[in-house]
């Protein structure tokens, strides 16, 4: 594909593009913290329920201590999300511009580069 020419212009689309420069999107918080937090709390609550499960509840789940296992799994997942955020924290928008190829005025996002 020919990459040298500019795409077709349209006033409404251009207007929106101009607005993007004053975007506040860089202030968006990191969703990993919310997912991690919710699952850690879910994990703790459900694990505790699993520890104190009565025989009737274990029998209902075909003899599987499902609360215990599901609780521990959710706790592990929640902590993993928090850990991911801790090792690769959201970069401040200003620092991101170094990594941008081509568009120096691109606003950064609240995430480390890539997916």
């Amino acid at each position: 594909m020919d990459n040298h020419s500019e795409p077709a212009r349209d006033p409404l689309v251009d207007g929106a593009e101009a607005d993007e420069r004053r975007s506040a999107a860089a202030r968006l918080f990191d969703i990993r913290r919310v997912i991690g937090g919710l699952f850690a709390v879910y994990g703790i609550v459900v694990t505790l329920m699993g520890v104190f499960d009565s025989q009737a509840e274990i029998d209902k789940a075909e003899g599987v201590r499902i609360n215990l296992w599901a609780g521990l799994a959710m706790l592990a997942f929640g902590l993993l999300m928090l850990f991911w955020q801790w090792v690769r924290p959201a970069e401040p928008p200003a620092a991101e511009q170094d990594g941008v190829i081509g568009q120096p005025d691109d606003t950064g996002s609240a995430y480390p580069e890539g997916s």
Binding site: M1, D2, N3, H4, S5, E6, P7, A8, D10, L12, V13, G15, A16, E17, D19, E20, R22, S23, A24, A25, A26, R27, L28, F29, I31, V34, I35, G37, L38, F39, V41, Y42, V45, V46, M49, G50, D53, E57, I58, K60, A61, E62, V64, I66, N67, A70, F77, G99, V100, I101, G102, Q103, D106, T107, S109, A110, Y111, E113, G114, S115
Partner: protein
Amino acid sequence: MDGGGLRLDLNALDYVLLGLYFVTVLGVGFAARRAIRTSVDFFLSGRSLPAWVTGLAFVSANLGALEIIGMAANGAQYGVMTVHYYWIGAVPAMVFLGIVMMPFYYGSKVRSVPEYLRLRFNRPTHLLNAISFAVAQVLIAGVNLYALALVMQALLGWPLWVAIIVGAAIVLAYITIGGLSGAIYNEVLQFFVILAGLIPVTVIGLVKVGGVSGLMDAVRDSKLGEAGLHAWQDTGTTANPLGAHWLGIVFGLGFVLSFGYWTTNFAEVQRALSAKNMSAARRTPIIAAYPKLLIPVVTVIPGLIALVTVKGLGAPSGDLQYNNAIPLLMRDLLPNGVLGVAVTGLLASFMAGMAANVSGFNTVFTYDIWQAYVRRDRPDDYYLRIGRYATIAAVVIGIGTAFIAAGFSNIMNYIQALFSLFNAPLFATFIIGMFWKRMSALAGFWSLLLGTLAALATYLLYKSGMIHFNSDLEESFWGAGIAFVTVAVVAAILTPLTAPKRGEDLRGLVYGTGGIDLKAGVLAGDAAWYRSPVLLGVIALALAVVLYIPVF
């Protein structure tokens, strides 16, 4: 059967888990508010999100009522053939959207799918699509809301109107306040909560039936029989559980229906448009394809488990309908604790579906109807305000539709089926317009209009008994196919008779006209080979093929 109906025995701690989720959802909405300064922040998250977030939101926007409840029901009714809805009926279209179509959507900087039609063709085509999309979204939001309320009523014993208003109020709050970021962030959260709810049901269900081999033996003895375990067997005729010929599956479901839904439905595409750069936008639907490949494990398999463990499942009405497969398993197998998580996951899935409709609607209403045709050239703050009003209006109309649906649930199903048919002519118009430079603006309008009317006519003739098809599914394959052909024929006839668009007006919108920068805004890390959209897409397609190979 204990005759206790579908009512689940939730205790205080289950309600704590549910309540925590609702509080978190609202908190996400409020926290997203500070990132909104412009209308682009509100409608497209300021085009700032990373690919894994938009990708999970993309798959979550589709994990609504139809998906969880409906696919488990299909699993119980049609057996393993239900996987066609995922592996051939979704993954190829998602990969195609990412690799082939996204450069045109994202590269042209359009803010919505209808807006692409305005630039590629003309304003009448745009208005036609914007209005039909907007109407469809509010009506479908109402249907989703009604489905949500029905489940809350059946499972928790809440009165229908309380359930409708609580569900609507929560969705309204987090989208009005947090905009698309609120919706997308909650969709990502919902994705994980839905899985956390469905995995325990699947695991315990499998333990109960003696693992995968035990399940297969039990299915052989069920009313589905051996045929329930095969995806392609007997598809040379229509004598299989789905009643579908392989041609219908491959071309009807796999091509026209699924490409129509996944590639032109703005409620989906909007998630990719909010990605932070071209690479992330292209990876959005492809990243979504990976979870999509595996979701049948937690929908189709529980459906089969319900078939063999719940006696009498498949009744035409009452508690033992196929649609109740998953709620019945939850009632029978889950102790308090995971039960609370599972109910939360189910409610999350309903809210995800409705939120996707509402956030798609407010964007199209504001940008494509209000700004383009009613009030142009106002300051950006004005459109941001209109977007919030449109959200409120959508939810209020949705509540109204939900109450209508409560009275005429069959009619609402028809309406939903009807709108899904509109996708086929839209996709045909898009795909021809994207690859055939010469296609004129006038041809675009008439192709879309006549294609839609052809789909509508097929549907109405079938419903009134004038034409016969073996099943609703077969009708939808044929209706979509007829619409597609109509669009192509109209475009081929009208284009030579009408004036072409100027080449420079099509730049970045049509294949071969240039103007697309596949590396736009790319960060250093995006160049890594494992982040290549083409490579990721090819792997997803290969997995879809591999999964069809029977291993047992």
